[in-house]
């Protein structure tokens, strides 16, 4: 059963699956030209989710607290076992989440006041599809 990424991050997200990471080890030999390479296997596909978290409330403080609650929910996924996720019909298999980071704007602010009772925060979530 796959979890839709929008249920975690909302609708204002972009999802990127990077090509597989290859783990290769090289052995050199003193004085000689060339190496042997040992293909140690792949290390999964980096999965990046970027976007904007947005919440509203009766005022900015309440809206910001609501964003904070969403972030708490996202943090839980950092401890989760590998699971399948789906976004726009594409399934990402056996994904574990490694890092979640809020992105400050040019003034250093993370939680943005847009209008009364409305708060947003830009983020990046880094994960890895194990398969």
């Amino acid at each position: 059963m796959s979890t839709n990424l929008t249920t975690i991050f909302g609708n204002e997200i972009k999802v990127h699956l990077q090509p597989v990471i290859i783990d290769r080890q090289y052995s050199g030999f003193p004085g000689a030209h060339g190496l042997t390479a040992m293909h140690m296997g792949s290390r999964g596909y980096p999965l990046t989710v970027t976007g904007k978290l947005a919440s509203s409330g009766v005022n900015y403080t309440a809206a910001r607290a609501a964003v904070r609650a969403v972030i708490d929910g996202i943090e839980d996924y950092l401890f989760a076992d590998a699971a399948d996720y789906v976004f726009f019909g594409v399934t990402y298999y056996s994904v574990v989440w490694e890092k979640f980071q809020l992105l400050p704007d040019g003034t250093g602010k993370v939680f943005h006041y847009t209008s009364e009772g409305y708060c947003t925060a830009d983020f990046i979530m880094l994960g890895r599809s194990l398969l």
């Binding site: 052995s27 004085g31 000689a32 030209h33 042997t36 390479a37 040992m38």
Partner: protein, 732 residues
């Protein structure tokens, strides 16, 4: 021929699969099928030679330290390559779980946290060593025969007796103790093999004991009877083990003590004497086999039943060489190396220490008491001079008699040395002192041939230290046991000698004897004569009265050559035939190594104590047995000892060569079903740099021998550990 992965510049990491069988019950029963532990990752496999078991450690990257991974203690573990076909797979390790290792670390800013659950397994050698001690002797008792002791005595098939109190020593003291008739061993009702067993060394009938060969010993040690791990490593007939059919195992080895060892250490003890070792080979059909091989003797390049060890060439590319050609040729690329050629440990002038020289001789002893301490009671016309035991029993107060009071062991004021202590006077204790004056110290040069007692300058090679008398080298004709220490008496100043049955012991603090007989007057002259002349004229001649006669007549006991004694010597004399150890020992120095023979320009010595193996023991012409036909346990091991020391020199005169070689990949057979390298294999040379590792030993080439292989699957590297070449040499 399809190139293998080893021949590509870009290789694939080789995967190792961990399989297991749970240990059920005690002792454990294992399922026939293997389960795969998919979550296990092999950390390290260490393959060892000889009695040391191989060790494998694997862990579970996805598990917590306290996870239940279904591996219980004793579970059987197999680590293999992952080829599809069973026959293509290489079983790298097989053994039993002995350690569950949990650890975790909370982490710091500098180091990440971790949790780890690892499992260590040891191979079947551990199980054999831990379950199968060897002690006692397997032999035949009276109930192993029909009609035992009669002329119709016959063996009962496969019947034997194990005796816990007899030490398991093959060819004890160099004498044969193997029963010439082997006994059959059964397993589940059928005879699986015949093995030699122990018998009495001294048997002289048609079934006289034979010598154990090394092969006999190993067949005995590794047989079903002592193998308590037979269900896990069955060796139905040890004679069929690979390598045991080599002629080296037909050698007779003397005094091999295995009592108290386990079967693996006992097997190693036998092999060590031959310059052989063994390893455990894991087959892909689930069998594990002990394979015997000669140390550093690999000469073939292809492994076979007759060549269990092979030579390898490792490749360290030449300067500016491209690695491409070497890799495509399938050479074993050497990624790292530590190689040590050490001359500091060279021994090219060994010195062997044998046992102390021992000689059997006959010599007179001197009284170890003062003349003044013996006062004959000549009262009542010598009626109180002595009493026989029968006389004493009739007395109500024997202590009223001086003889009993002072000179009988039960006397109230017993003078314990008088008449009883006699010494060789080898230390000069009874010479020229204020109290004693028994003549010159004993001169060993009088009884021992000059070649053994005098040095090149004619100096005597001993000093006046106290010694002890040892049993004769001369032995009894029937039992072949030593005759012990023989004491003879003379009552005519040494003209004639006689043996008188009596209790006599050897002194512990000097070379001498002590007469334990309670009543010295009971030591009667065998001619049953009387004393003639003097105060004691007509008195019965016995040891006590003879002493009294000497004292009463003021005779002198000094050196026989002294004028005083010559004029009036004691009639009472004691002489002893015994053996004694002197201050020199069998000492052997090797010859000097020839030009370019040694790894060091210096003469480097080391003492080797072989005092239990070699010695010089002679019966001198002074011994009263020298003209008899009695057997004598003489030995002069000089030549044999020199041969041994020369072998020690040859084995140790070259540099110590040891190394650690790391290959750039795992050489697991690439589908051949067996690993490319095995312990016991040798490294002939390092190609590319054209560096030969051969050393000349006894006009043959020997090479560093692999004694340990470490597989590091995580790094996909393989380490080969070689040992000092010099240890590979057979001593004799």
């Amino acid at each position: 021929m399809t190139p293998t992965d080893a021949q590509f510049l870009s290789r694939n990491a080789q995967r190792l699969i961990v399989e297991f069988k749970q240990a059920v019950n005690s002792p454990p029963i294992f399922d026939t099928d293997w389960d795969v532990a998919w979550g296990a990752k092999v950390d390290r496999i260490e393959i060892n030679a000889g009695p040391r078991p191989s060790v494998a450690t694997f862990w579970f990257p996805a598990e917590r330290w306290n996870a239940d991974v279904s591996f219980n203690q004793g579970a059987m573990v197999r680590i293999r390559t992952d080829e599809q076909s069973v026959s293509d797979r290489t079983v790298v390790f097989c053994g039993f779980v002995t350690k569950l290792r949990s650890n975790f670390f909370g982490g710091t800013e500098a180091q990440p946290s971790f949790e780890r659950l690892a499992i260590t397994a040891l191979d079947h050698r551990w199980l054999l060593a831990s379950t199968s001690p060897v002690f006692g002797q397997l032999t035949r008792g009276p109930d192993d025969y029909e009609n035992y002791g009669t002329s119709e005595q016959s063996l009962i098939t496969n019947s034997k007796t194990w005796l816990s109190g007899r030490r398991a020593i093959f060819n004890e003291a160099g004498l044969p103790n193997k029963d010439p008739v082997e006994v059959g061993l059964e397993n589940e009702g059928s005879t699986i093999c015949e093995i030699p067993i122990f018998t009495d060394t001294n048997k002289t009938d048609s079934t006289a004991a034979e010598y154990w060969t090394a092969s006999d010993m190993l067949r005995y040690i590794l047989c079903r009877y002592f193998n308590a791990a037979y269900n896990y490593i069955p060796i139905p007939d040890p004679a069929g083990l690979k390598g045991l059919d080599h002629a080296d195992f037909n050698k007779v080895l003397n005094h091999i003590v295995i009592d108290g060892l386990n079967v693996i250490d006992a097997a190693a003890a036998v092999c060590n004497h031959l310059g052989w070792s063994f390893r455990l080979d894991f087959e892909n059909d689930d069998s594990v086999n002990l394979v015997f091989y000669k140390l550093a003797a690999a000469s073939a390049r292809t492994r076979s039943d007759t060549s269990p060890t092979i030579l390898h060439r490792l490749h360290a590319p030449a300067v500016n060489e491209s690695v491409k050609d070497a890799v495509e040729a399938g050479k074993k690329m050497l990624w790292a190396m530590e190689f040590l050629e050490d001359s500091a440990a060279v021994i090219n002038r060994p010195i062997g220490l044998g046992a102390l020289h021992r000689f059997e001789f006959t010599a007179e002893l001197v009284p170890g008491w003062l003349d003044s301490a013996l006062v004959p009671d000549t009262s009542e016309s010598n009626a109180n001079l002595f009493f026989t035991e029968a006389d004493l029993q009739a007395l109500t107060d024997p202590n009223s008699k001086d003889y009993y009071k002072y000179y009988h062991v039960r006397g109230s004021v017993f003078k314990r040395n008088v008449g009883r202590r006699w010494s060789l006077n080898e230390s000069g204790r009874y010479t020229n002192s204020d109290t004693y004056d028994r003549g010159l110290p004993f001169d060993f040069a009088d009884i021992i041939p000059a070649e053994y007692i005098l040095d090149d300058n004619g100096k005597r090679g001993y000093a006046p230290f106290k010694r002890v008398l040892l049993p004769c080298l001369t032995a009894d004709e029937d039992s072949l046991n030593s005759l012990g220490i023989i004491v003879e008496f003379s009552f005519d100043a040494g003209v004639t000698w006689q043996s008188i049955p009596s209790a006599i012991s050897s002194l512990a603090d000097e070379a001498g004897i002590y007469i334990d007989e309670p009543n010295l007057a009971e030591l009667v002259d065998q001619t049953e004569g009387d004393i003639s002349g003097g105060t004691l004229d007509g008195v019965q001649l016995n040891f006590w009265t003879s002493l009294c006669d000497d004292i009463a007549n003021s005779r002198i006991f000094k050196d026989k050559d002294s004028e005083e004694e010559e004029a009036k010597p004691w009639n009472t004399r004691l002489r002893v035939t015994a053996s004694i150890q002197l201050d020199r020992r069998l000492l052997t120095r090797s010859s000097t190594a020839g030009p370019n023979e040694s790894g060091s320009p210096f003469d480097l010595s080391q003492l080797y104590d072989f005092s239990k193996a070699y010695g010089l023991a002679k019966r001198t012409t002074s011994s009263s047995f020298s003209d008899t036909s009695l057997p004598v346990n003489q030995a002069d091991d000089t030549a044999k000892f020199l041969t041994h020391i020369e072998a020690v020199r040859r084995a140790n005169q070259d540099q110590s060569v040891s190394g650690q070689f790391t290959l750039d990949r795992l050489w697991l057979g690439d589908g051949s079903g067996e690993p490319d390298l095995a312990v016991g294999d040798c490294i002939e040379k390092i190609t590319g740099r054209n560096y030969s590792l051969a050393a000349t030993l006894n006009s043959g080439d020997v090479y560093p021998e692999i004694i340990q292989i470490i597989y590091l699957p995580d790094k996909q590297k393989q380490k080969l550990i070689t040992r000092d070449l010099r240890l590979a040499e057979v001593l004799l």
